[in-house]
Symmetry: C2
Subunit: 222 residues, 2 copies
């Protein structure tokens, strides 16, 4: 019915007409409620998801219960990597969670397989998505291994503040973003507040001096 969703994916707009037709016929549009666990230990997706609306958070959960956010899939992106992740090994422990209500195109595995075989465009789309995630992961590894927490936190705050100057997140959630401990976040935010860069309240952080944060964040790789 509604085949126009393809236009939301820049990489797919030049899809060969026949392929495009097959894709729209054989895939379906699904909706997922905020908070749904899309995949994870115990769940396995039979579909490749292309996000139309909403946001999915992919995170690693350690046996000790600590979490770290690996990346997010936004509208217009595909979730291949995590699908592929389920293929090879069983002992993975990443999970995907709908951060908002999500609307997505679900492409069944056989159709996906067929499309990869048939279409150069689709193949490029998929491989590019892979590459992007992998460089993301490389970056995360470098940050965790070599970057100071205060700098990473400043960057993350700037990143999470989407226009509104407000970030709705507990210290615990921010700790998971950086793969560190809640206490560390509390300390750093306390320091940021002392410097007048932010104002804190329960469950949210308000940016008071973006430039101040940005100066710290820019110390990056000096």
């Amino acid at each position: 019915m509604n085949a126009d969703w393809i236009e939301q994916f820049p990489g797919l707009s030049r899809l060969e007409p026949a392929v495009r037709d097959a894709l729209t016929r054989k895939s379906s549009i699904v909706t997922l409620r905020e908070g749904s666990v899309i995949f994870g230990p115990g769940k396995s997706p039979e579909n490749l998801l292309l996000l139309l609306d909403g946001r999915v958070r992919v995170q690693q959960v350690s046996e000790a219960g600590r979490e770290i956010v690996l990346y997010r899939v936004e509208a217009g992106q595909s979730c291949v990597l995590t699908t592929a992740c389920l293929l090879a090994y069983e002992d993975y422990s990443a999970e995907g969670i709908a951060e908002t209500d999500v609307r997505a195109v679900a492409i069944p595995r056989p159709v996906f397989d067929d499309l990869v075989a048939t279409s150069v465009t689709f193949r490029t789309f998929i491989f590019t998505a892979y590459s992007r995630r992998i460089t993301d992961l490389f970056q995360i590894i470098e940050d965790i291994a070599f970057q100071r927490v205060d700098i990473r936190l400043a960057q993350k705050l700037i990143d999470l503040e989407r226009g509104t100057g407000q970030i709705k997140a507990t210290h615990q959630q921010l700790a998971a973003e950086l793969g560190t401990a809640r206490e560390v976040i509390s300390r750093q935010l306390g320091e940021f507040q002392r410097r007048g860069w932010i104002r804190q309240s329960r469950g949210s952080v308000e940016i008071a001096d973006q430039a101040g944060l940005a100066r710290l964040a820019a110390l990056d790789a000096v």
Copy 2:
């Protein structure tokens, strides 16, 4: 000429005869000297490599010059991930280095593209390789973020000791394996030696009590 190399790749042994023929005809066997930089900032491979002999180390180098080993490609494995890595972004900073002399099958990009399109077997081979690397990366992230250095070092020593009870590596190299600092390795090895688990000499570590190391390594996720 020598088409038997395909047998070295379990994932490819069932390749359709026609595809198999195309693969052997259009690819070439290359050799690389120990120490060669196979790809990295400035170098880009035009080929997908399937390793016949030798070992390739893939590592991330930070702007400050610190290094961390991401994974190794061994004989019988492919190097897709890093090839794909070059597609999307330019600002990656990983490099691949031949740890030993390397003999590999080089598949030109157009041939690779054609094979992915033609053969389900080949496609599975490639995607499985991807999945494996990605779960590796997930594991590395979890280790760096949540695991103690002494435990990781003990695991790494056991891992690097391949039969010989000897590990040829400087403290600096071991530090790069774990993404930590040389001084930290020196301290930990000093402690291991004090406990009688290892004996040190310039440029190498000798395992004296594997069981002792193994006990520490097993504290993993208790």
